[in-house]
Symmetry: D2
Subunit: 314 residues, 4 copies
Amino acid sequence: MRTTPHGPPTPDFQPLLDEIAAALRPQAGQQGKVASYIPALARVNAAQFGIALRTCEGAEAAAGDCDTPFSIQSVSKLFSLTMCLQLIGEALWQRVGREPSGNPFNSLVQLESEHGLPRNPFINAGAIAVADRLVSQGRSAGDLAAMLSDLAGTAIEIDEEVAASEAATGFRNHALANFMKSFGKIDNDVAPVLELYFRQCALRMNCRQLARAAGYLCRDGGHPGGGATPVLTERQARRVNALMLTCGTYDMAGEFAFLIGLPCKSGVGGGIVAVVPDRLTLSVWSPALDASGNSWLGMRALEMFVARTGLSVF
Amino acid sequence: MRTTPHGPPTPDFQPLLDEIAAALRPQAGQQGKVASYIPALARVNAAQFGIALRTCEGAEAAAGDCDTPFSIQSVSKLFSLTMCLQLIGEALWQRVGREPSGNPFNSLVQLESEHGLPRNPFINAGAIAVADRLVSQGRSAGDLAAMLSDLAGTAIEIDEEVAASEAATGFRNHALANFMKSFGKIDNDVAPVLELYFRQCALRMNCRQLARAAGYLCRDGGHPGGGATPVLTERQARRVNALMLTCGTYDMAGEFAFLIGLPCKSGVGGGIVAVVPDRLTLSVWSPALDASGNSWLGMRALEMFVARTGLSVF
Amino acid sequence: MRTTPHGPPTPDFQPLLDEIAAALRPQAGQQGKVASYIPALARVNAAQFGIALRTCEGAEAAAGDCDTPFSIQSVSKLFSLTMCLQLIGEALWQRVGREPSGNPFNSLVQLESEHGLPRNPFINAGAIAVADRLVSQGRSAGDLAAMLSDLAGTAIEIDEEVAASEAATGFRNHALANFMKSFGKIDNDVAPVLELYFRQCALRMNCRQLARAAGYLCRDGGHPGGGATPVLTERQARRVNALMLTCGTYDMAGEFAFLIGLPCKSGVGGGIVAVVPDRLTLSVWSPALDASGNSWLGMRALEMFVARTGLSVF
Amino acid sequence: MRTTPHGPPTPDFQPLLDEIAAALRPQAGQQGKVASYIPALARVNAAQFGIALRTCEGAEAAAGDCDTPFSIQSVSKLFSLTMCLQLIGEALWQRVGREPSGNPFNSLVQLESEHGLPRNPFINAGAIAVADRLVSQGRSAGDLAAMLSDLAGTAIEIDEEVAASEAATGFRNHALANFMKSFGKIDNDVAPVLELYFRQCALRMNCRQLARAAGYLCRDGGHPGGGATPVLTERQARRVNALMLTCGTYDMAGEFAFLIGLPCKSGVGGGIVAVVPDRLTLSVWSPALDASGNSWLGMRALEMFVARTGLSVF
């Protein structure tokens, strides 16, 4: 909320994260299933749980497997969207919408009935459309890694084995890209667009890095490391939060809003980034997913965090 | 936000509402179209605009045609949901979901593929499912009018002409109700369920009454008039707000979140209720609708209010 | 085929039908399931099988339970279409299409995307549209019974218990009718249209009567009993056969064409009428249905008949 | 029909084809539009019309632009299906269905809801599935050209310019192939499968050659040139005819059956092949298409032919 520049002093969140990790980490891997569509994801040990946060003021707290890197997968869509807004701003919305997609079944139906315009930047088709915009701007997945390295204050890398596996098995994404191109909604050749997309999904980060890198979302777009140049304008940051809340968690956006009440973006690597506007960003990770593709234990952790702090946007 | 019990003193919103009314009321009816599917709505003068708010502390402000009653239509879904939660709580969710529906085209497709379970309580199918639950609890549209009269502190009535017209022309709603019943998802006869539904849509209120009646949504469920019995629990109120944000404005939930950033519920009578959690409820009205069925000028007013106050949940 | 007015002499089909009945009747009820959505259908003994045919020249043959009456259900759509073509001819096609519907899932999707125009007269929505046309012409299900009595040369009646059960449980048909009416594609009140529809489905006939009554379809529209007035024009009869082949057997039209190669119309009572143009009409009955709603043993009987006689249109 | 081995003597069709060409050729190009998605098709002169037939006995007749070669496009699906049945027979049906697809909108929806199994071999997805089977059998588009050369008794070639254009612009077909592969329904790499598919669509033939090459379909599968080895078994030929009638003409299968009553396969090059079982095969060509992608004048020619000869399967 923009109106509380001088809110109450930030509490120390370390005890709470310790408590959450103590309560949940023993359950890691007991429910849900690790993504298995590529070997590099399938062999991740399910019995892991990490959590980290960073407040607007720069205080940090972390617990559990908060330093273990994982494949951020769809969480990367948050950052490719951010880079795209930096580069072309509102023009992006000519190629991608801002509405929830309803359900997975709809992705291709909607693409067809809406003439190749994806519903939002967080479904696969939408992220591919964003990747096409980035290619047109001369950007690559390496540039995303560089942006994240700057935001997190530490080197972020692409797991090339994961990227290669994604490319070798991503037939549905090839289908989506070609389908959009058949509607004239992809400008570049499909190959470089998908290369960027598959490589961005293969970025590796840990919870601590994710909480830092996404810090601009709780700071009205300001650089989380205190850099002079804002990452996004205040209005853009607020709108990215809105998109996360309505579209950021696959087909569970309503459920996340209902149960957790924070803007979130999840990935099938088991990571979730959540934002408490004007307060903090939070990152949780546990590899086992529920049927909707969201980290099962990650959701539990977010529910627990909100229940204990009362920090929800509603 | 739950964490600011003693926030900054409430500003006086009257000057701002006066300013918004002065700026927008002259535009009323210049864009958009008044709902025309029944005569009683079609003959409403488009050149009207009202706005009203009530803070958690009970301060009120209002401007424009804030005392002119209008047909609340789908805004009533907020109140039937509220009554249903009072009566059966979580059991409601066995009959209706909590996810955005994607788009209007999908309503019947989704009902079919999801075996008669509507996506959320704010699409027509979902509100009919709620009405069925109310009938099973012995409630009628008159009980809703009584609840609203209590909340608003003044008598709220049903426009029987509108109710009769809705019933006489509501073939699609008849289709939805029968379709759900074919899946065993409606317990009662279709006739009394639709009678309740058509009559709740025909409730007449003005902006001032709406802002008051919905006051529990910014007060953690507490009675807006200071009654001892809460309208909803704090958790329920927070969740209704989440549903409003993700599902409350037809196919424009993403757009409302993106542009306005507040939980809203709109109706084709041209009314919109918005909630700033822990701060205030706001009601706007102008009869001319955009293509999505939301009040065109009402949306402008909400954008203006948020831009001027910074009051958004993001 | 129109070009063989003096084809080879009609063979005596009685031995073949005896053979088919001897081979198949013992299997009756061993595969498939009797329709169970209303009691009057559910209690039919599955272990029954009947077959009957009538050549263009008037020769008849029949075997098995060929004299046991059953509920003709969707086979009635053939006769309501016929009556409608008699009354309004080509004008019918303003209210119903002539294309296969794809699959059951599509029925409501297609109705929605095609603005309430059903795909063909043999899906439920299409038959309801035909019923609306009949009501507009002052016709009732009783008139259909009278037409069938004339065609079959014996009194055909409506099973009022079945009709009442259909009406009491036919919520999906209520949904379809109201949905079409919401698009302005049904002129009359839904109630009398559905009354005609539910009562036509409850007509009771046996195989012998069905083979006789549908005799005009192999005789270029000529009255099967030799009446002076044709039932349909030659062109109409040929086109009804085409509709039967492409749309007459629920979602199995392709499979029927592929395996059997004759125009057919089936019903969930277990009856199927088949036409060999210029040669004969054939009727089979066995109550147990396969998953697509067609009589399992009836299909076997038709395959056997075609394999033995070589009588296929292809 | 299998039962008339010694039917009436074949009439001389040359006068009728002359008459049809005289009546229709002057109208060529006056209605409909030439396919324009690739330059090589777009520049075809619309003012052309050809017709040719060949009886089971080997008599031929032809008129108009019957010797002008054109791109057979989807008519090739008839021949790839035939080659596939020769090679793997019934096993093909594990990869493609036999039901009409409903409508174009559905193609991707159906592929999704039916887990990558295309509805029938005549929609694009189905023909790509057939191409995958051919690649697995070591076949190429060149083998199809060789088969057609043998059937037509004259060299048939592939227009490599058309093939290259199809490949360069066929994004939707790339989408379909990748989508099916994502369901495990395509065994080979997408590239060679699509190469075969795009090159088969680029086969060039004239009406006379087409009528000859498809001659096995009216001769119970027997080689049209009298070769000793049948092209298909009698049962296979009959079933291909059934598929043509129910699925051969895009979304107009019902309309073709209703108006023309013959198994047909059309292509966007403007060609149509029709079969009168046991009598003759017929080929028409005129480049301008109606909205459904079928040759507008070709359909008129077929209607005229059937009206004058009475040769319909119904």
